[in-house]
């Protein structure tokens, strides 16, 4: 199959990965990266915004061809869609309100790399368990982070699941919860909005424990498209475009 035009979807409401400008156009890290990828593949790209909840179902129903929405590559998702190679890889971390008793847990400001079996970070997890005993931790439901928190903190803390990170952040500010655990890049941008009320607590967690990063989602019946996208991403990584855009939008390097 010849690909002349490709329709790429994103939510358009997940700043700074992707967002909508007041004039209705899409902006952010991903739209700019998409432009580079499409130029490289020499295809015409159409960016459309769509609802997060129905995104994967819609992809398989043929409503569009590619999902580019900070979609983590996971085993479950691989069962029903294909992924390109990752174009970003972010760390995860705890955030706390600055005036709470859970701030500045040991390791704040450092990065710990862990494998899925925790190897490489068992000590930091232990340290955090001691520091966060009795806290209420807010997480976004059905994320890779949820499983990590349940497995390692379920017995010492109260866990509350939110449908979106934004709602959880609001509760973190009002003090309904003491800690939030999420993507560090995402949290960083939340801190900006919170006027310095929030800060990281404990180390940033990297490595492969939360997967290999964020990739583009495509239908399993479109292997040619996947190959084209893989090529383009490799080129973008090699050109340093990803790093450049990352520094622009995230103020940190998310290159995998």
């Amino acid at each position: 199959k010849e690909w002349k035009t490709v329709t790429i979807t994103l939510e358009g409401a997940y700043a700074p990965w992707n967002m909508t400008n007041p004039d209705g156009t899409l902006g952010g890290f991903e739209p700019e990266l998409a432009k580079y990828l499409c130029d490289h593949m020499k295809v015409e790209c159409k960016l459309v915004a769509s609802d997060w909840d129905s995104m994967i179902t819609s992809l398989n129903a043929g409503k569009f061809d590619v999902i580019m929405d900070a979609l983590s590559i996971t085993e479950e998702r691989k069962k029903i869609i294909d992924f390109s190679i990752p174009y970003a890889h972010t760390h995860a971390a705890f955030a706390a309100s600055k005036d709470s008793s859970y701030t500045n847990a040991p390791g704040t400001g450092t990065v710990v790399k862990m494998e899925p079996d925790l190897s490489g970070g068992k000590d930091s997890v232990e340290a955090m368990r001691t520091a966060f005993k009795g806290a209420t931790i807010g997480i976004q439901a059905a994320t890779v982070y949820a499983k990590f928190i349940y497995d390692n903190f379920g017995d010492i803390a109260t866990i509350r699941e939110y449908k979106t990170g934004a709602e959880r952040d609001l509760d973190l500010e009002t003090g309904r919860i003491d800690l939030a655990f999420d993507d560090a890049v995402y949290l960083n941008s939340a801190f900006e909005k919170a006027n310095g009320e929030l800060a990281f607590s404990g180390p940033e967690i990297g490595g492969t424990i939360f997967g290999i990063g964020e990739g583009l989602g495509v239908r399993q019946s479109d292997p040619e498209l996947k190959a084209m996208l893989d090529d383009a991403i490799k080129a973008a990584l090699a050109d340093g475009v990803v790093k450049e855009l990352s520094m622009k939008w995230f103020k940190t390097d998310v290159t995998p």
């Binding site: 939510e11 409401a13 909508t20 400008n21 007041p22 209705g24 915004a49 129905s54 409503k63 709602e167």
Partner: protein, 240 residues
């Protein structure tokens, strides 16, 4: 100043997008209400029918479309409808996916639900018509359709106006769920704006206010219709 800028119509203002969203919500709801009126009348007639089978069919319709969560119905119509269209397309030799336009899918789904509610409204209104007045119509030999047109319909409308007003409000808000079909309605636009700017309260309140503007306009319309329709009524319950 900052508020005016964020919600205004300038370069950095979200006013235009929000208004477009409100317009989309209005269009989906209007289309759904019209479709629902037709379905509702048919289903109400079925539920009032002499035949037990037809009555049961009407009952099944209203139970399902009132009883199943709206979101699922929208999913079913949108994705189920698309696969049906695709299958039909394949039969005629079209390759690949054929979509059901988002607007049609959304309006169809909300219309199906709205039809179930309207059916109940019409049924209730029919039962409120004084029995004697129907007998009087029969007694001068009005045939069924004529009786329906001249005696039942005007009175059903009279009794149903507040109920239709209620259904309108419900549908206005059910239409917030059509965003899963990719339509940029008012609710989704508010959420997109909130997510893009992280001004959650600002945009949720703005969206809520726009909904209130929509309902206040329709409220006024329904109130006028109600006043007109109840000219012939005695004073009502007056002072309690």
């Amino acid at each position: 100043m900052w508020l005016v800028e964020t919600l205004g119509f300038g370069q950095t203002g979200w006013g235009g997008l929000l208004l477009m969203g409100a317009l989309m919500t209005l269009c989906v709801t209007l289309a759904a209400l019209l479709l629902g009126a037709v379905l509702g009348a048919i289903v109400a007639a079925a539920k009032l029918s002499q035949s037990r089978a037809i009555r049961t069919a009407g009952g099944v319709y209203t139970t399902i479309f009132r009883g199943v969560p709206e979101l699922l119905i929208i999913y079913l119509v949108y994705f189920g409808g698309s696969s049906a269209v695709t299958a039909i397309g394949a039969y005629f030799g079209f390759e690949g996916f054929l979509g059901m336009p988002s607007f049609i899918a959304g309006a169809l789904a909300v219309g199906l639900i709205c039809g179930a509610y309207q059916a109940e409204v019409y049924r209730g209104a029919f039962l409120a018509i004084p029995k004697g007045e129907l007998e009087a119509a029969e007694a001068i030999g009005m045939h069924r359709f004529l009786r329906f047109r001249r005696i039942i319909m005007p009175q059903v409308l009279r009794f149903a106006i507040p109920g239709i007003g209620n259904v309108w409000q419900l549908s206005l808000k059910d239409s917030a769920l059509v965003s899963v079909t990719g339509l940029a309605d008012l609710m989704r636009t508010s959420q997109v704006a909130a997510g893009s700017t992280r001004q959650y309260f600002l945009f949720f309140i703005a969206g809520g206010c726009l909904y209130l503007v929509l309902t206040s306009m329709s409220d006024r319309l329904f109130a006028r219709a109600e006043r007109r329709a109840s000219r012939s009524m005695p004073a009502g319950i007056g002072q309690i």
